[in-house]
Point group: C2
Chain length 196, copies 2
């Protein structure tokens, strides 16, 4: 009922995702979004409420996609399998030709002022990923998951997530999918105790 929307809202969301991904939150203006979507200002606000609400919606979906990679990895039974799923998963995700390279969240969370709720939310998500990984590593350590000796699960987890964020930076700087996959492979083989 009522006047039908004259633009494809999913397509508009894709356009917005792409723009935010490439330029970050602050650097993507409503004017950018509107002209890329081909809609007027009132139409934008009617459909998406505000720039921030649109961004929340987009990053919420982004979070789900990323969580799938993590969940898949955490479900593995050995450290090696976990690491492989995680790093290769991110290597492919961060260089998926379907969207810009690098991490959408990282692009928007690093520079925004520290007290901004968006930045806090993103930092919290990163923290959760790290602690979830840490918990799983502790489990694996107790069940003979063959963790490298000499470093705690906490440190190991932080090192692994750091590698992921570093891969995101490299991807945004031009690293190819092959580059990232090689890195992932190298990390797996060096961090994994040789199967004796």
């Amino acid at each position: 009922m009522g006047r039908p929307r004259e633009f494809d809202i999913d397509q508009a969301l894709n356009i917005a995702t792409n723009l935010f991904w490439r330029k970050g939150f602050d650097n993507t203006s409503i004017s950018d979004l509107r002209s890329a979507m081909g809609i007027s200002a009132p139409s934008f606000y009617f459909a998406f409420e505000s720039k921030e609400a649109l961004f929340q919606r987009i990053t919420e979906n982004y979070r789900k996609v990323q969580n799938e990679i993590v969940a898949d990895a955490l479900g593995q039974k050995t450290f090696k399998d976990l690491l492989e799923k995680l790093l290769l998963g991110f290597a492919e995700f961060l260089t998926d030709p379907a969207h810009p390279s690098g991490c959408l969240v990282l692009n928007s969370s690093i520079p925004v002022r520290a007290d901004h709720p968006i930045t806090k939310r993103f930092a919290e998500q990163r923290r959760k990923m790290r602690t979830d990984l840490e918990k799983r590593l502790k489990q694996l350590a107790q069940n003979g998951g063959k963790l490298p000796a000499g470093s705690s699960p906490a440190t190991l987890a932080q090192m692994v997530v750091s590698l992921v964020w570093g891969m995101a930076v490299e991807a945004q700087s031009g690293a190819t999918r092959t580059d990232l996959k090689k890195m992932a492979g190298a990390a797996v083989s060096t961090l994994t105790v040789p199967t004796s």
Copy 2:
């Protein structure tokens, strides 16, 4: 000759460095800078020419400091020493209480539009650091520097710099100096072939 400057320019540069570090280039306005420095608009432009020129000046100095860490590391004679100098050096640098946590360049380069000259310059600097490391690793590999088997110097170099960028992200997200040092230590011990 002429009327003397009524503010300390080095102090002003420190203030600007601090602001850019915390909030990135785009998110730091001239108004922010001016009020923190306590000077008027014409004084700002007279002293620093423009926001971008000021940023260039600051990041140029930043680059030098960072390069010292890299140069010190590349001067080492074994892979282990190199890695230790590099990772521990960045661990301390990225959590130096004298300035905000994380990497100033990364904070400003990730989100700025990809075609912006500043972004390009920063990406180029990252690339140079990676290739410099790669060259040195090749040398070490030929001289018995004990590199981990199974991965090329190029991949190894990219993995190491990724770890550095990841550490920068973690530092900006609240990781402590101790956290980063532990990670550095773990990375060194896992990436280093046990001295047989």
